[in-house]
Structures are given as C-alpha cells and as structure tokens.
Symmetry: C2
Subunit: 269 residues, 2 copies
C-alpha cells in the first residue's frame, strides 16, 4: 500500500500520537510505504479564504485581493478555476500530490464535539476542491456529477481512526452520544464516500483519556491489525448514487427499507 | 431577546451574508438586541493549541511554551485550568462574555462537506472549554457531568441556519445526502444540546447557489419569521441524560423505541 496518514492532534506525546507512531511502524515494517500529513506539525491553515485561489495573470505572487478586489468570492467556482489553472495555494497542491501518490488514506483524530478538530475539517474544506473531489460531470448521467462511490478518488480506500473519552456503550447503537458510524456520517459518507473512496468501518478507541498500559497495548495491537488488514477489510456497504437505489430526485426508492427514514437507510439491505 | 449571531462565510456579499443582514435587521427592528461574531471578519483562529491556555505565573504576556515547555498539552485539563484562572486567550474570553450576555444563539453557515466550515467548528472547539461548556460535575448524579439538557448554557435557545447547494429532497428523510437533522446531529445534539441549550429545528435554504430573486425573497422572509419566532418555537425533543430514559451506562432503556438503533432514537417517542 501507499498510505497517506492524516493526523490531527495538538500534542505528539498524546495517546493519539503514540497510536499513530505504532500504526505507521506496523505499515512500514510490513513493507508498505507511508507518508504523513501531521496537520499540527505542518501548522496547517484550516480556513478557506481568497488566498487559497490565486488567479492569473499575476500568478502565485499576486494575492486574490490584488487581482480582483471588486469581485465576489464564490468558493466552488474560484476553487475549480484555480485547480484547473494550477494556481491553488502551494500547501493545497502539496496535499493533492500526496493524494495522487496514495492508494490508501488513514484519517486519525480525537473526537471533538462529535466531529473532527477544526484543523482537520479545514484539510477537507481546502484540499477537496471543486473539479478535484466534487463537481466532476458524470459522462453517463447528464446533469449529475460523479459522487457516492464514483469520482476522481475512487481508486482509494479510507480508514478512520478515532479516539474519544466516551465509553464504548455511550457511542453504541443506542448510546446517548449517538451510534458512532452515524455520528461520523458527514465524514464517512458525506466526504469519503462522496468522493468515491471505499470506506472501511472506523477504528475506535474509547475511554481514551484513561487507558491503562495494558489497555493501550491492546488498542495499539488492534490498530496495527486493522491497518495491515486494510486491503481485505469489507467496506461499509453504502449505496452508490447511480446503482438504481435512488430515484431521479436522489431519494431512496420505496422498495428499499420501506417506511424507514434517517441516515441508516443509506447502507444496503 | 439578546441574540448572539454566529456567522461563518468568507464572502459578505454572498447569499448567506444577505440572509444574515436580513435576519439581524428583523430582530433589531422588533426591538431585540443583537451582537454578532462574524468569524471571517474577525479573522477567527480555528485551531486549538497551546497558545489558547496561558498559565501563570507569567500571565497573558507569557506563552505556554515559555512557561511549561516540558509538559504535555492535555486539552481538557489545560483549558479548564485556564478558564478557572482567567488566563484563556483574550479572543476566547471575549466570546464567553458575549455568550454570558446572550439568551439566544443563532449559528449560520454554508454546509461544507456536510458540516460546519472549519472556522466555525473551531469556534466551538476553542470557546466551549472544559469547565464552561462541559465537564461540570452534576451535584445530583455522582460520577456524571451536566450535559444533554443541563449545563451552564441551559438558559439559552439555539437556532441553526444552514445554506446548501443541495436540493431539499436530497437532504430529506430518505435523500442521498442524509436527513438534515441527522447530518447535523453532531452540532444540534452533540454540541448545542450537550451543553444544555434548547435546540430548535434548523432553518434550511436549499439550492442556495442558484436561487432566483423571488426564491431569495421567500427564503429571507422565512428566515425573518423563524428568528422572530425563536421564543415560542417548539424545540427538537431530544432526551435528557438524567430524565430516566437511559440506563447506568447511558444506553437507551429497552422500553423506549424497542429494537431500534441509530441516532434517531434520541428524540422522545
């Protein structure tokens, strides 16, 4: 595998940092290639703004405001043009280069407010630009774009690794914090699957702020097993946009999960 | 009402910016007080890091690294201490002051990758610190903290205003993008309700990148109605943590929604 490991924790000496070290060591020890985007170490800029899209003719040395001070910023449109013209901010282009190299993406983070830390959300906001990760016309379905199982990133597998202080049952199917894979639906389905990636069930480490040494060892062992098993782990069986399960308005047809509503219906029966 | 309007869009001349202007005008025109945190205009820092927590004795002029270069950053613990000691970063303390003033929070954003833009996620990551928004001991339930309907922010009502390019049906109960209130569960339930706020059904503007003038006028009118109706709008009926619906492990008791799983079960029957 060629693995890009995305990591978002402000403290490298954290439980998350130790797990990351173990996971990468397991991969390289087994002969896989691994590159990392350690977002805090990179001082990653999380905020989408005009500086991301530097249009011509001034080129990369000219800021957006200098070029077009009077024009409204339209994020999708400006991002797509900058992507096409090669004028995206260099830090975004560097991540595109890593993604082009990778066949596997690991996304590791502590669960903050039931989502990704802002620095990691901002990686997706800035790197997954229109024309690259979404908004690519589907040649076979006029009026649609390639997404949900199809897209320019469809050659990749994605594994999410999440640490949380919550005990497992509270993030379980009926736990007060919400069923984990549904809490992570915006990432697993709305981002990774949206862009075409094959999405594996997440690795979850619960009670992460109070693991014993023995519990840490077990969690690290499980993580190593899971990352080495990426090529043959059955993915989450999300429905494809164009496989026939949805109608023309992209609503699930009534013969699938009849009478049911909610995000759980988007996994195949 | 004393309304704090959180707004996260990189372009003030956007549809979102126009809606924000209309909503605030409706509120002030009806005699309500309104303050705003326009995160892009404030150049809000989204990333939680050591600089947020400036411990003594050096005080606010001394950076975290200068004070304790050898110590691990433990976000919850360091944040709670800084909150207690009044040494949180001034930009965070300014938001706490606004929240103390407000009885109502409006959270307005464009839906990016099925969640908040990073700059807004980073407002919650940095402002909702331990000891303030979570991690406050529950005097009546040893071993628990005040959350899910209880907490220091329980005197506030919260309304989310979301714009999306998606057509409505695709974010509907069986739409391919996921049922909106479940896609927003990490914010509505895992953040706003977690901290005790009363959470209203979101205002959603669909097809936001292609509204006609007439459609914009309708959306603005609906927004104005909704913000003026905040005091008497029925909230989402999320279950309280301590109301008896959950067992000792905080799993929903089997007599509620028997046999059902997923985040939908956390709304009362």
């Amino acid at each position: 595998m060629n693995v890009l490991w995305l990591f978002a924790h402000p403290e490298p000496r954290s439980l998350g940092g130790s797990l990351r070290d173990r996971g990468i060591k397991a991969l390289t020890g087994a002969g896989h290639s691994c590159r990392e985007s350690d977002l805090y170490a990179m001082n990653w800029k999380p905020t989408v703004d005009r500086e991301d899209f530097v249009p011509g003719p001034g080129g990369p040395e000219t800021s957006y405001d200098e070029c077009r001070p009077e024009e409204r910023l339209i994020v999708g449109t400006d991002a797509r043009r900058a992507y096409r013209d090669g004028t995206l901010s260099p830090d975004i282009r560097a991540e595109h280069e890593k993604l082009a190299w990778a066949d596997t993406l690991v996304v590791q983070f502590p669960l903050w407010w039931y989502g990704m830390p802002a620095i990691l959300k901002g990686w997706f906001d800035r790197v997954f630009v229109k024309g690259f990760a979404y908004g690519v016309r589907d040649p076979d379905h006029p009026g649609r774009t390639l997404r949900y199982g199809e897209g320019l990133l469809a050659d990749k597998r994605a594994l999410t690794v999440m640490t949380s202080g919550s005990p497992g049952p509270a993030l379980g199917p009926r736990g007060v914090n919400g069923q984990l894979d549904q809490v992570l639906f915006p990432l697993l389905h709305g981002t990774l699957w949206y862009t075409g990636m094959t999405v594996l069930p997440p690795v979850a480490v619960y009670g992460a702020d109070r693991l014993s040494d023995r519990q840490f060892a077990d969690a690290a062992d499980e993580l190593c097993e899971r990352v080495l098993a990426i090529p043959h782990t059955p993915p989450i069986a999300y429905r494809t946009q164009n496989g026939g399960d949805y109608d023309a308005e992209l609503v699930l047809r009534p013969d699938h999960r009849p009478g049911e509503t909610g995000i759980g219906v988007h996994i195949t029966d």
